[in-house]
């Protein structure tokens, strides 16, 4: 009975709510008309809502409106860029309204180095990404949010593994040997973005849910305040703080599933068996007795299905924030658990955070901020290259035996291991714990003059656990059980002192001056231990290993920077603005005499729209030109002691010996990037259109290069010295970037906004130590080491390097050509190869003889592709209707090349491992007259793809050598994020004391439009190396993620 009562009562309550709403709408309605203006005249498109209902109208082109409203009701007038007004009707039938421009909306506060500025006062190039953008995505780390959302910032994920890293390039690549990643200033703590690894990401420790703003400083006038660490740009990240007044408790959580976005077309067992028979016919392998009747075989093992699974993702975040009259606080806890779509990968993170700020008295303010993070990551798949193994493992190998143990191939020669077995048995994990904190005190001496001192620290601990068990996968066995444990510890602290002065004189002269001093110190330690000879696979700690195999080591390092800096801003009549910054940095990484570097910058802004001659142009409400020039540095020399002679220990029979480790260069100094920037800010139609455009030119001089020396300088092999770092060479980056935000529709309940971001950058090496110097990057596959990219003078950075395929020998006449004089000549063949079945034959590729010397050899390699996109873009559309919000975000790269590196083997019909099905389209080469001679004139091609090579007994022509055959167009447009949310109407939930209830569903990586044939055209840079960009060598594919979540706050 009680149950029924409750039910009835609730139903009644709900009915009452519904009725009461309609009562309001129906009772005593009157028609109100009026005209809406601003100080320029009539205002069209103003949104007028009857308060408490979803009914309303908008003004017409003359600013007129009429609306039906209860006589005792209220009307809300809303228009972007203006303060909204609520006016009680009180029985009137005509209400005219003058809207006031919302200065605040235009003047969002932008965080700049060591302070804040109003956007309208900015003279440098700064772009902001809001916390709303974070909410639109399923992002486990903030670099994913930046993707396509900030002009001038190109972000690519280097691996799809959970917790994996990205490459972030702000305005191109500014260095060839040292880091090209920006620095992140997270609540005042400076964090270097470089990890040099695919699976590691410094931003993975931060919970995106905690972030309130991200501001990206791009040009020298904005970044120079960070001096010697700023050459790659600065990303300032601030986390949420409490607000005075109301307290909030909020929960945001989601659950989701992840899956592979694409699958490669690989051979099934039947296809593999038939092809193996063909390979046996060609004399490459011996015939397999299991494959006598391929038609009787089944599908076999699909290794992609075996390694990749559907995986879950979940995140829960709870926060409490608020403040009293004199203080504010915020507390937050977060949890993320992301399984990998490949077995043997995953990421779990806990975050705890708290801050407290207090106005101690009239003149003193202090605050503290603590953030703790702990994460665990499984990286077996990434570290053991298991994606590559799964692509190559053959369908005739089973994953498991009948008894459940792992199976494997029946020979150990030229086969792959069992990727699933490896992923599940091998331990390869890391655990990281970090504490980021800062405290500050601020004294206000008088109005506009303050002194602030801030101490920030960042402590990090990383443990890694690797255990290689004994196993037998078919014929592949491992008997050596090994375990490695490492511990590293890092400490960074900085202390800065700032004096700020902010005053406006005679209402026309606005002056802001900041002077500062900062000390930064970082220190790291590393300790590792190894043992083998474990008796079983059960216990993994070193104690269980054989003590006589123990191997231990430790290392450490550190560096420090002292800085003096200042910034002066002057604005005359809010029309002409000048910002000058200066930073003077001393670094421990350089020798006496080169320790100190000066980094100046200046920028000028002209607010054209505030000129009197613009007063008649009502459509433009903000027009500003910006001009800036400055210098910033890069002190990331590969070694902390490159400037001095360092001796390193060597184990000898006589005890520890010492040999020189490096060739010192006491003249070493900063890499310096000079940059010029011209920008335009334009806001039109009361900010319905907002445009920010920038054109820049950057030149990096005194490039830090690890100068290659001839071997007779003692720089190659065991016991050699590392060649010196020198300041030689220069490179340039130039580009255009634009941000356009438009409000396309703001009518009644319907709101539609578009954000467009465009980035274009061109990089080029201007000079190196010699005219002909090159920096080559190689990939090792088995015993083959191949140059994949080359960086050279007058060329873009990190271009692909290899042979050019200009055709295929299809008939006898293809082997000869007539030169200009009419002489018959032989088409160039690889050095030392004759025209023969075991040499070059019909069905082999013709390579371009670049140096025209008649033979194909290493000198015929050339540039075969450029990984730098012609441009990148992001397009976001937000639609709102009543409580519904739909956001669709597209991210695109255009004109970049990608090497599908594994295609060299996966499409080579000769290979023993599994292949792309396209490999079956190899050129079918047959004799024209079966009884005739073995001669090219008696040979023709009867089938197969016109650009696939033959299936030859010998590989002498090396058709799969690295050539433009494997370079593909990496352009793509990706539906990166789709998010649909519904915010429950306030009056439904306010009765239970809840402010916001929002439910949402999101899809990440929904669909990718691309011509690329691998898993994912977004390849990134191998181990963050800018010179190894765009090389897909079995990259962990980014998952497609579907999530459902709820956001509640009260």
């Amino acid at each position: 009975m009680r149950k029924t009562d409750l039910f009835l009562r609730r139903t009644f309550l709900a009915m009452f709510f519904l009725l009461s709403v309609s009562f309001v709408a129906l009772s005593q309605n009157i028609m109100v008309t009026g005209n809406v203006t601003d100080d320029m005249g009539p205002l069209p498109g103003v949104n007028i809502m009857v308060v408490g209902t979803s009914q309303g109208t908008i003004t017409d082109v003359d600013g007129n409106y009429n609306v039906e409203v209860p006589a005792d009701g209220q009307l809300r007038f809303n228009f972007i860029g203006f303060e909204s007004q609520v006016i009680s009707v009180e029985g009137r039938t005509e209400i005219n309204v003058q809207m006031q421009e919302d200065v605040q909306a235009l003047d969002e506060v932008v965080v700049v180095g060591y302070g804040q500025m109003k956007r309208s006062d900015l003279t440098g190039s700064v772009v902001s990404v809001s916390s709303e953008s974070i909410q639109e995505t399923v992002s486990t780390s903030v670099d994913q949010v930046l993707q396509g959302r900030a002009a001038g910032v190109q972000v690519m994920q280097n691996s799809g593994t959970p917790g994996g890293g990205s490459s972030i390039r702000i305005r191109g690549i500014s260095s060839l040997t040292s880091s090209t990643e920006p620095i992140f200033v997270i609540d005042g703590v400076i964090v270097d973005g470089s990890t040099g690894s695919n699976s590691e990401n410094v931003l993975a420790s931060i919970n995106p849910n905690d972030i309130v703003s991200m501001d990206i400083l791009k040009d020298a006038s904005a970044t120079a305040i960070y001096g010697s660490r700023a050459a790659n740009g600065v990303v300032i990240i601030n986390t949420k703080q409490g607000e005075k007044g109301k307290s909030f408790v909020s929960y945001n959580g989601y659950y989701g599933v992840q899956e592979m976005a694409t699958k490669l077309d690989l051979l099934n067992l039947q296809q593999y068996a038939m092809h193996k028979n063909n390979r046996a016919d060609a004399g490459i392998v011996t015939r397999d007795n299991y494959f006598i009747r391929p038609d009787l075989l089944g599908e076999g093992t699909d290794w992609q299905d075996e390694l990749f699974t559907q995986a879950s993702i979940q995140s829960h975040n709870l926060s409490v924030s608020g403040g009293g009259e004199n203080n504010t606080y915020a507390l937050a806890a977060g949890f993320l658990d992301q399984e990998g779509i490949a077995i043997g990968s995953g990421f779990t993170r806990y975050n705890l955070r708290g801050n407290f700020n207090a106005d101690v008295n009239e003149w003193f303010r202090a605050g503290v901020n603590f953030a703790l993070n702990n994460s665990e990551q499984q990286v077996t798949v990434e570290d053991a290259n298991l994606i590559k193994v799964a692509m190559k493992q053959t369908p005739n190998v089973a994953v498991r035996n009948a008894d459940g143990t792992f199976d494997g191939p029946d020979t150990d020669m030229y086969v792959q291991t069992n990727p699933v077995g490896m992923a599940m048995l091998r331990e390869n994990e890391n655990e990281k714990t970090g504490i980021r904190s800062n405290v500050f005190g601020e004294v206000k001496f008088m109005d506009g003059l303050t002194f602030k001192t801030e101490f920030a620290s960042d402590l990090g601990m990383t443990n890694t656990y690797q255990f290689n068990p004994s196993y037998s996968f078919g014929a592949i066995t491992n008997e050596v059980i090994e375990s490695t444990r490492t511990k590293s510890y890092s400490k960074f602290y900085s202390w800065n002192n700032l004096v700020s002065f902010d005053r406006t004189f005679a209402e026309m002269h606005s002056v802001k001056v900041m002077l500062g001093h900062e000390m930064q110190k970082s220190h790291w330690e590393y300790l590792s231990g190894y043992r083998s000879g474990f008796v079983s696979n059960v216990g993994h700690d070193l104690n269980l290993g054989d003590g006589t195999t123990a191997n231990a080591g430790s290392s450490s390092g550190g560096n420090s920077i002292i800085s003096y800096f200042g910034r002066a801003f002057y604005s005359f009549d809010n029309k002409y603005q000048l910002t000058a910054t200066l930073r003077y940095d001393g670094s421990s990484k350089f020798a006496e005499g080169n320790k100190w570097g000066l980094f100046p910058s200046a920028a000028f802004g002209w607010k054209v729209s505030n000129e009197s001659f613009m007063s008649g142009v009502s459509s433009i409400n903000n027009l500003k030109l910006r001009l800036g020039y400055g210098a910033v540095g890069n002190q990331n020399v590969g070694s902390d002691y490159a400037y001095t002679n360092v001796l390193s220990p060597v184990t000898t029979v006589f005890g520890t010996g010492l040999i020189s480790e490096n060739m010192a260069n006491p003249d070493l100094k900063w890499e310096t990037t000079y940059s010029a920037n011209i920008g335009l800010d334009l806001n039109m139609f009361n900010n319905r259109i907002q445009f920010i455009g920038d054109v820049y030119y950057k030149e990096t001089q005194d490039l830090l290069l690890n100068v290659p020396l001839p071997a007779y300088m003692g720089v190659e092999g065991q016991g050699s010295v590392s060649s010196p770092y020198m300041n030689v060479g220069s490179l340039e980056n130039k580009g255009i970037e634009a941000t356009l935000s438009t409000i396309n529709m703001d009518r009644g309940d319907f709101f539609w906004k578009t954000d467009l971001v465009f980035t274009l950058n061109r990089s080029k090496v201007l000079s190196m130590d010699t005219e002909t110097s090159t920096i080559d990057k190689t990939i090792q596959e088995g015993s083959e080491t191949t140059i994949v990219t080359r960086t050279a003078v007058d060329q873009p950075i990190g271009q692909f390097y290899g042979y050019k395929v200009i055709g295929r020998f299809n008939e006898a006449t293809d082997f000869y050509y007539k030169d200009d004089a009419g002489n018959i000549k032989e088409v160039a063949r690889p050095e030392g190869l004759e025209i023969s079945e075991t040499g070059v034959w019909i069905g082999d590729y013709i390579f371009k003889d670049i140096n025209a010397d008649g033979v194909i050899n290493e000198s015929d390699r050339t540039y075969i592709g450029n990984p730098e996109p012609k441009f990148t873009f992001g397009i976001g559309n937000t639609f709102s209707y009543k409580g519904f919000d739909l956001n669709i975000f597209l991210n695109g790269f255009y004109g970049n090349d990608v090497i599908n590196y594994q295609k060299r083997w996966l499409e080579n019909p000769r290979e023993n491992h599994n292949l792309y099905t396209s490999a079956l389209d190899y050129a079918r080469v047959e004799q024209i007259d079966p009884d005739g001679p073995v001669d090219i004139r008696n040979t023709h091609i009867t089938g197969g793809d016109p650009m696939m090579p033959r299936l030859a007994a010998s590989s002498s022509n090396a058709n799969n050598r690295l050539s433009d055959r494997f370079v593909e167009d990496g352009s793509f447009i990706r539906i990166q994020d789709v998010s649909l949310s519904y915010t429950l109407p306030k009056d439904w939930i306010s009765s239970v004391g809840v402010d916001v209830v929002k439910v949402y569903a999101k899809v990440k990586n929904a669909y990718t439009f691309t011509k690329y044939s691998g898993y994912d055209p977004e390849v990134g840079s191998y181990n963050q190396d800018a010179l190894m960009t765009g090389i897909d060598n079995g990259r962990y594919p980014s998952p497609r993620i579907y999530t459902f979540g709820v956001n509640i706050s009260f």
Binding site: N551, I562, S660, A711, M713
Partner: protein, 373 residues
């Protein structure tokens, strides 16, 4: 307050000094005799690694057709006369010799510049060790490549490293001078077993004089006739060792290749490798390249099944001679009680080959300068 304009206080300089803990900078080293010994210790092994790893036997025994390795691209080009300037072992040996030279140069120059508080005698002794190594490396370079650059201070030419080669005779002369200095300043008895002494230098010097005697006028009109002056010097240097050193040859040749024979009296100079470690670059890898199966080495590193005696080599052995053959090449039925002792010794049963036995016993491979017999 910390803001004092842009003046740099001495406090800043202190903050900007970050001492290294995992390496040693020059400023705080070379202060004692033991520091000098630490500096020269590394010249006996690691710097020679790439020379010893493949080149030493690939060129020596491979070119001589002593060994045959049809599947090893680091041996057969030498046997087949098909090597090019890019053949692996040639590239790595060239690098290794110049690593020896570079590190010896650094050691010499660092001692001269920084070891101000150490006695002249000790300094000269350490420099003599370094010059011995450098001279030996230059001797190899002159013998094998002919004209090569002579470098004595790598740091001085780092900014302009493109330098001309020196004539071969100059390189020989330079090497001889290094060894002559070593013979003057090395101690009569080494401080540690395995380190150089005066007799090492005289032994090596005899070798240098001898080869120079035949090579220094090879391009002359009278080329090819041995220079009697250098022959006499070679004889004198050898005599010094034979008569004055008090050292003696082993009873049995095979002893040289046993564990007990390591650094014995017959061995004047041997590269010093570290045993019982997996650290790359400080061990003798020849054992792994020669061992024909894991029973020999006790681990997976046994890559020598297809590296064996050439037929020409086996034919050279006198059929009555057993000691030398037995301890150099394993032939069918040969028994080695010292190998795989846990299983009671080893019986070689391959019928179609004779694998290389020579170094399989010793962890530390020895580069011998044998006394002139």
């Amino acid at each position: 307050m910390a803001i004092a304009g842009l003046g740099i206080s001495s406090c800043d300089d202190g903050f900007l000094e970050v001492p290294s803990n995992d390496t040693i900078t020059l400023d705080n080293f070379f202060t004692s005799e033991s520091d000098l010994r630490v500096a020269t210790a590394a010249l006996y092994g690691k710097v020679w690694f790439d020379f010893n790893d493949k080149f030493y036997y690939a060129l020596g025994d491979g070119r001589a057709n002593n060994i045959f390795a049809p599947y090893s691209d680091y041996v057969y080009p030498f046997t087949n006369f098909t090597e090019t300037s890019l053949t692996g072992p040639l590239v790595s040996a060239w690098g290794s010799f110049y690593n020896v030279i570079g590190q010896a140069n650094n050691t010499i120059n660092n001692i001269e510049a920084n070891a101000t508080n150490v006695s002249e005698e000790a300094k000269n002794e350490a420099i003599a060790e370094a010059r011995f190594m450098r001279g030996t490396a230059y001797w190899y370079l002159a013998s094998l490549w002919g004209n090569v650059p002579i470098i004595t201070d790598n740091a001085a030419i780092v900014n302009n490293p493109i330098i001309p080669t020196n004539p071969r005779n100059d390189v020989f002369e330079f090497a001889i001078r290094d060894l002559e200095f070593a013979a003057t300043h090395l101690p009569l008895e080494a401080t540690q077993n395995g380190r150089l002494n005066q007799w090492s230098a005289y032994g090596m010097l005899a070798r240098l004089y001898l080869s120079y005697a035949g090579l220094h006028n090879v391009d002359d009109r009278n080329g090819g006739i041995r220079d009697t002056e250098y022959l006499e010097l070679a004889r004198k240097a050898a005599e010094k060792v034979c008569v004055e050193s008090g050292l003696e040859l082993n009873e049995s040749y095979a002893e040289l290749f046993t564990l007990d024979g390591n650094n014995d009296a017959e061995s004047l100079f041997a590269l010093q490798w570290v045993g019982g470690t997996t650290e790359y670059g400080i061990t003798n890898t020849q054992q792994a390249y020669f061992a024909w199966n894991s029973e020999i080495t006790g681990d997976d590193a046994a890559w020598g099944y297809y590296t064996f005696a050439s037929w020409d080599m086996i034919r050279e052995y006198d059929s009555r001679e057993t000691v030398r053959l037995h301890s150099t090449f394993a032939t069918y039925g040969a028994e080695y009680p010292e190998i795989n002792q846990a299983a009671g010794g080893y019986l070689y049963e391959e019928t179609d080959r004779a694998n290389i036995k020579k170094v399989s016993l010793v962890q530390r491979k020895i580069l011998k300068v044998l006394l002139p017999e």
